[in-house]
Symmetry: C2
Subunit: 426 residues, 2 copies
């Protein structure tokens, strides 16, 4: 009962950060959602299968968003004149409190999932809120939309507004219950352990979450080293810790299961060594880092140390869902680091940023984000004909232009793990 699909079009992907593979009028073939061939012709074994021909359109891997807060969707583009901590107090926490109401959650999460779909984000790693039932609603909506995601019920038991603080034992009990309920959603929508960040979690809570992650073999996500105020706060809360990174490490929230940490802007060399040793993924969130004046992450340095890097929208610290725009912003920010701060940080190239937004972040899901053999087939079909240009352009130039100036209007089809994801009706 194998299901074989063959897509034809102008194919572009980045097997390595350093280069695009571009195939004019090529074919990508998947069996049961997994790529078996990508090239200029169809191998004889697949000669009998029907072809979905996308003509002159571009076919690229689906985008991977490695960090977004689904419940902050209504706050995108608001409060952009504030820094992290006051912004959390004024906008974020009051909004997240509303997700104690499952119906409010269904309304907002439905709109958010539609926006992920619209912008071609086929995979995402998401924060929910502390509310387990609303978090299950988000997982249900993603599954119905045919999108893949890791979704986390958030844990926070200190230094938070009264209306968002959990009792430590209840938090762990709720997390266990939610982990077990999550099994219903199948292979594309899975749970991820989600301590909000060190300042809002007691040591007891973090240890308990580290144990749950290992017991259920579930990955971990959190925030790390976003802002100097936050870093100083962690040092004051845990004066015995060697550094911010080691707080997570010592609580087994890093190194035991796969972990992704958002931001990582101000890491010391010792902390970078720990990230590399544990192969903890950095979720680089350029729009958020700009909006909240957090600073420019040293992406070139992290990259050279072989730390895995994905890109994140960080809705709503970041305001833009589109990973095409997030990746061009990452390039722009890297240029500003190079020109304004230190010429040792060579700017990101287009292929490097595209890699991070596809295969780089995709590693967290297994083999995802590329059209190499063995990868799950996530794909976007791009019709760029309305981007006016009477001149002949290479496929790379057409892709560059769409990434910089195109938008969701040009995405005409989305595939996730080999299946078309139609527009979510909710």
């Amino acid at each position: 009962m194998n299901s074989t699909i063959i897509l034809k079009g102008n194919i572009l992907y980045t097997p390595r950060p350093s280069e695009f593979v571009a195939i004019q009028q090529g074919y990508v073939i998947a069996v049961d959602g997994v790529v078996v061939h990508c090239g200029e012709s169809i191998p004889p074994a697949y000669g009998e299968h029907p072809i979905t021909d996308y003509g002159d359109h571009l076919i690229i891997p689906g985008f991977v968003d490695t960090h977004a807060h689904a419940p902050q969707y209504c706050n995108r583009g608001l409060g952009m004149d504030k820094e992290l901590l006051p912004w959390l107090e004024t906008y974020t926490f009051p909004e997240e409190a509303k997700f104690s109401d499952k119906e409010y959650a269904r309304l907002v999460y439905g709109a958010f999932v539609h926006d992920l779909w619209r912008n071609g984000t086929t995979r995402s790693i998401l924060f929910g809120t502390i509310h387990k039932d609303s978090t299950l609603v988000l997982m249900e909506l993603l599954q119905k939309a045919g999108l893949s995601a890791y979704v986390g019920k958030v844990n926070m038991d200190r230094n938070s507004p009264e209306f968002l603080i959990e009792d430590t034992h209840q938090s762990l009990a709720d997390t266990k219950e939610w982990l077990e309920a999550s099994a219903q959603f199948g292979p594309l929508v899975k749970p991820i352990i989600t301590p909000r960040f060190v300042p809002s979690c007691t040591s007891e809570l973090m240890s308990g979450l580290g144990n749950l992650a290992q017991a259920y073999n579930v990955p971990v996500q959190s925030h790390l080293s976003e802002n100097h105020g936050e870093i100083d706060w962690v040092a004051a809360l845990l004066p015995e810790a060697a550094n911010y990174t080691d707080v997570y490490y010592e609580h087994h929230l890093m190194g035991k299961v796969p972990t992704v940490m958002a931001h990582c802007i101000h890491l010391s060399d010792v902390e970078m060594d720990r990230m590399a040793e544990t192969q903890t993924m950095v979720s680089h969130c350029p729009y958020s880092n700009v909006n909240l004046s957090s600073g420019i992450a040293p992406i070139r340095k992290l990259f050279e140390r072989k730390i895995p890097i994905g890109l994140g929208s960080d809705i709503s610290g970041g305001h833009i869902v589109s990973m095409a725009k997030v990746l061009t912003e990452a390039i722009g920010l890297s240029k500003m680091k190079w020109v304004e701060v230190d010429q040792m940080y060579a700017p990101l190239t287009l292929s490097e940023a595209f890699y991070m937004a596809t295969k780089g972040g995709g590693k967290f899901f297994g083999k995802v984000g590329s059209f190499e053999k063995g990868c799950e087939l996530d794909a976007l079909v791009i019709d760029d004909t309305t981007l006016f240009d009477p001149n002949e352009r290479s496929l790379e130039e057409r892709l560059e232009r769409w990434l910089y100036v195109g938008d969701d209007r040009h995405i005409v089809e989305r595939y996730v793990a080999g299946k078309v994801a139609p527009e979510p009706t909710n």
Copy 2:
């Protein structure tokens, strides 16, 4: 034969950089294209006139783009991994050469003018190419679209590719002929003297252009202090000049008629003094400065010295036509200057950036970019209902969100000097 219009809706504008005026369900009234009243009610004298009621929509001033290269429209979003000088050689100059063909010009300029319209840019200050006839085509298309602009035939007689270099005398003769032909386009579309930049203009050409600007009472635009390579080049070409700025000043291209200079990233204090003394406008082009790794202009410092500042898309050094996006990028860049370079540069606030994109740049056109009495009425009507949010928001919050996450799909009407500008058909 006075023509009176009354618009009703949620009105926002920035009479000063420091604050928005926001009027819930207010009225803006214009007679013969000029605002006579903006407030919460209709003065008795206008009680008999019909009202155009935009319901719950936002009404804001039209955007002013103080720097864009119309002939580079086809190159937007291409070659973004290059710096200024190689990017000019590879992409810009070969494209501009095509504008010797008036039909090619009509095709590309038509698409560009449509994109200005689509994004709500009611006023713009544009570079054409060296070709006078094609430049007249651009002016004709703007006039037909009902948009207002200063348009320049470019001058360049050295250090340029052979196919774009002018003979000095022919360049001045063509400019004179074009200035005279420009009179046909009426008050909304006017000529501006446009030496490309110092490296591509001989002293003789610059002097001749300075004389023409004064003789015809026409303003001047050019580029200034964008990139270190360019600045060093100017110093090598004119070793006797005190600095880059003074080359323009000494040739009467600054201080005699209104002048706007794009970029101004690396000005010395002495140069800033000259800009302030001559009230030369800076066109700050944040996307371009990022894309070409030019650096972050010290906008706070320029602002404090009372130098006039507008914002520019700089198509195609910048890739984004939308001034809503250019203004949010200006805010983002100013935050990076503050956090990564020097905390003396306080980040731009939303109202400051909005002011620059409306009334700030509008000053080049007279009284434009605000709804204060005496201003020409340029307005955009924004329907933000499809930007999902079940929560009540203030008018400022709704505007902030639209600027950050909205797009042309939400602009439902454009007014220029009191008249609706319908979609250009061309």
